[in-house]
């Protein structure tokens, strides 16, 4: 196949002639189409996928423990734990009787759609109502790769500071939900909620926010209700 119309001669030196080829391809197109395929399969199965992103130590695993406990009896939930190495998070979850699977990325800083699909298959996600990906602790790379999730949530703990949306605009601009964790420590920090929301809404107007504490349980009920509504609406959409 010789694409003549896409090519023109752009210069000559003594022996060689350069040609310019128009490529116009998205480097991440493969991942985007994998993600879309995964979403289609999950839709068929009625499994809602949520992608959780945050910095290390923001309390992802503790919040998931609280959430799944709260959803017990209402939603069949499973968790994919992604870590560069170790399985301490999965041990915490399975120790609490939660269906969880460890994905070791071996140095890779994010989860892509192919890895998510593999993990979900091993977790037998088609039998679940809700699958949660606990992405690698990192506010940079996970934001650039679509995992196939229906919604993306970011957890930010108040000890990290209220200027994070200014420093990591990409992750805060692509998320559908922000959980402000460790809210019980608010008085011990310089974190100002109005300033955080101002920074956040500038890159993502009207994004849903919950103030939570994995330690005291504050806000977990509200977050659980939000998830239940999301999953039920999604499953009804499937039935229609």
């Amino acid at each position: 196949m010789y694409e003549k119309e896409n090519e023109k001669s752009i210069g000559k030196n003594s022996r060689e002639e350069f040609r310019l080829i128009e490529v116009k391809e998205d480097i991440l197109a493969d991942n985007k189409s994998e993600a879309q395929n995964l979403r289609n399969r999950l839709k068929q199965a009625g499994t809602y996928l949520l992608n959780l992103m945050s910095s290390p130590g923001s309390g992802k695993t503790s919040l998931i423990l609280q959430l799944v406990e709260n959803l017990r009896g209402d939603l069949k939930t499973g968790v994919i734990e992604a870590d560069i190495d170790s399985s301490v998070d999965t041990e915490r979850l399975t120790g609490a009787g939660i269906k969880a699977l460890q994905l070791r990325t071996g140095g890779l800083c994010h989860i892509d759609a192919v890895m998510a699909a593999r993990g979900l298959e091993a977790l037998e996600a088609e039998l679940l109502d809700l699958a949660i990906i606990e992405n690698i602790g990192n506010l940079v790379c996970p934001a650039e790769f679509d995992t196939g999730a229906f919604k993306n949530a970011v957890i930010l703990s108040v000890t990290e500071g209220d200027d994070k949306p200014r420093k990591y605009p990409l992750v805060f601009s692509i998320c559908d939900l922000v959980l402000i964790n460790k809210i019980d420590l608010l008085d011990y920090t310089d974190f100002e909620l109005p300033r955080f929301k101002e920074n956040l809404f500038k890159v993502n107007p009207g994004v849903e926010c919950f103030e939570v504490s994995a330690r005291t349980g504050q806000g977990i009920q509200e977050w659980s209700s939000w998830i239940k509504k999301e999953v039920w609406d999604f499953q009804q959409g499937k039935a229609q």
Partner: protein, 117 residues
């Protein structure tokens, strides 16, 4: 931080186009990458050199164009460019009373063209 998987995809696409166009050698590749991306030019080139070794794209130069971030005012829908330092902007230049913006551009990862022999 995640240059390697991105570069692997890049090399794959470049080799497909090189074959399609019967190129003997790829001299340079022009990329368009959004300002919001944290990819480092220097590391992109280093990984590229490694991944493309032994192919027609070996030693090709990556020419990286950064695409500016464009936000849209949620009040008047005016779109305007902002630098990373100005993000998020204080006010919309058109209606000036709005403080909420949607990021509409700045996340690109495109291969625009390549120069081959």
């Amino acid at each position: 931080m995640h240059e390697l998987p991105v570069v692997k995809n890049l090399v794959e696409i470049v080799l497909q186009h090189a074959e399609m166009n019967r190129a003997e050698r790829v001299v340079s590749i022009t990329l368009e990458i959004g300002e919001l991306s944290d990819l480092e030019d220097e590391w992109m080139q280093k990984y590229f050199n490694f991944v493309s070794r032994g192919t027609v794209a070996e030693e090709a130069e990556l020419v990286i164009h950064r695409c500016p971030v464009v936000v849209q005012c949620s009040e008047c829908n005016r779109r305007f460019e902002v630098s990373l330092e100005e993000l998020p902007p204080d006010k919309c230049p058109a209606c000036s009373n709005c403080e909420k913006f949607n990021v509409v551009k700045g996340k690109e990862f495109y291969i625009r063209e390549m120069k081959v022999i």
